[in-house]
Subunit: 146 residues, 4 copies
Amino acid sequence: MELVSVIGGSDVHRSSKEYRFAYELGKVLAKNGYGVVCGGRTGIMEAVCKGAKEEGGLTVGIMPTITGEEANPYVDIRVNTGLGHMRNPIVVATGKIVVAVAGNYGTLSEISYALIYGKTVLGYRTHKIDSVIEINRPEDVLEYLK
Amino acid sequence: MELVSVIGGSDVHRSSKEYRFAYELGKVLAKNGYGVVCGGRTGIMEAVCKGAKEEGGLTVGIMPTITGEEANPYVDIRVNTGLGHMRNPIVVATGKIVVAVAGNYGTLSEISYALIYGKTVLGYRTHKIDSVIEINRPEDVLEYLK
Amino acid sequence: MELVSVIGGSDVHRSSKEYRFAYELGKVLAKNGYGVVCGGRTGIMEAVCKGAKEEGGLTVGIMPTITGEEANPYVDIRVNTGLGHMRNPIVVATGKIVVAVAGNYGTLSEISYALIYGKTVLGYRTHKIDSVIEINRPEDVLEYLK
Amino acid sequence: MELVSVIGGSDVHRSSKEYRFAYELGKVLAKNGYGVVCGGRTGIMEAVCKGAKEEGGLTVGIMPTITGEEANPYVDIRVNTGLGHMRNPIVVATGKIVVAVAGNYGTLSEISYALIYGKTVLGYRTHKIDSVIEINRPEDVLEYLK
C-alpha cells in the first residue's frame, strides 16, 4: 500500500485553519486509496489520522517511545521506535511524498530529511524553503501523486 | 490493530522446517486477526509474510534502507528506516509478543532487545536463552496472545 | 572536555571563504581549550578538524558507517554509528553550542535538531533561520562559550 | 586514537570481582595507549572509566540521552545520542575489539551487534556465546590488540 507522509505541529488548535486542512487532507488521501504515515501524536498528526479514519483509510504512526501508548486514538498501526525526535527521518522516508502543515523545528527537521532523501515536499502554512511547493487546498496533493 | 513480531534468519531455505513453520505461523496469525511485523526481507521474514497474505492478513516490514526496495513481495507496509541492522529494536518493540524462528546474531540482537523491553519471547529452533519459551507448533503462539 | 559542534557542507571547495572560516574556527577552538565534534567527513568537517589539529586540539567525528573508514585524516576519535544521515542529531546534541558554516539540507536538518534541543546556533553564510545568530569572524564564537 | 569497547552490567557492585576486573582493565588499556568507549553510565562502565582515568587514559561515553548528564564522573567525552538502549550498537562499532564483563540483556544485545559487525569479542563472567573468547585476567586483552 502506498502511504503519504504528513508532518506538522503537535500543538495546533483544533479550531485552526491548519488542523482543518490536515483533517480534510486525511479524508482526501483515504478516499483516493492512500494510507497516511505520521509521527502518531497530537495536532496535525491527530487531524490527518482522524480524517483518514472517517473515510476508512489506514493510518501508521511512527511513535517516539517503545510502548507507543502516546498514540492518538486514530492510529491503526503503531511502529514503536524508542527514538524520540530521531524518528523524524523515518516518517518522511516511509511516504511516497511529504505534506507539511504548519509546524516548528521538528517539522523543519522533517522537511530537511525529506529533501535529503529526494522526496517531493508540499507545504501549507509551513516553513518557507525553496524546494517546498506551496499548496492551498487538500485536493492539490493528488496532482503530485499521479 | 495488534501485531506480532516475527524474527529469524534471512538465509533459511524454502524447503526447511523453519521456513515452513514461519509460513504456517503467518497463516495462524492472519486467521486470528493479528498483523505481522518483521524485518521485511528474505528467509523467515518472507515466509511469515507469505503465509499471512495467503490468509488476507496485514504485513509490516521495518526496512533497513530509506527506499525499502529490498522488501519481499509480501510486505504491505514498508517502514523505511535507513537504520540497517539498527532497526532491529523497532521490530520487536512494535509487536505485542515476539516469535523467534532459527536465526543468527541478528536474531540474537532482537531477542535481547525484546527481553530488555519486557516482551514475551517464544522460540522455535532458535538461540537457547533462559527467558525464551520454546514452542513446537505455530498454533502454540495463540495461548500467549490471550 | 567541552566540545563545540561544527556543521556544514561536505562539498565546499578548499579555496572558498567557507572552508577558510571553518579552518580558522578549528584553530580558535583548539587554542581556547575546546574540542570539535562534527560529521567526520569532507568539506567544512575536514576544514575544522584540520585547523583544530594544527593547534593540538581534539577532534571527534560522528561517522555514518559502522567502520568509520570514511573519516577525514584529522579525526582523532571516530564514533562509528551506522546511522548514515540519521547521525545528524547526535552531532549537534554532543556540542555545547553549534556553529553552522554554509551547507545544504543536511546542515538544515542539523540546525533544526540543534534548535529542537535548545542549543545556541551560530551561522556563517548558512541558512537564514530566525533563531540562528549570524557571525562574521571565527573568534566571535568565543563570546557564546563564556 | 584506537579505542576498546567495554560493555557490561550497570548494576554491578563496587566490591565485586567484575567491577574490580573492569577497573583493572581500564588501567591496562590506558597504560598501553588505548582509549575506552562504553555506555557512559554506572557499574562496569564506571569501573573501566575510573581505571582508565587513574592512568591518564581517554574515556568516551556513548550516552543514552541528549544531555548526557547521566554520565559517570570519569567520562571525558560525552557523545549525546538521545537513543536510549538503541545506542548499544554504536558502543561496539566504535571499538577495535570488544570486552564484555558480566551483564544482562543489554550486554547480550551488544555482544550480538559486535558479532554482526565482525568484531573480536572477549568475555569475563558474561553470557556463554560460542564466538565469545573467555579471558581471566585484564592483561589478556593485549594479546588480541596486536
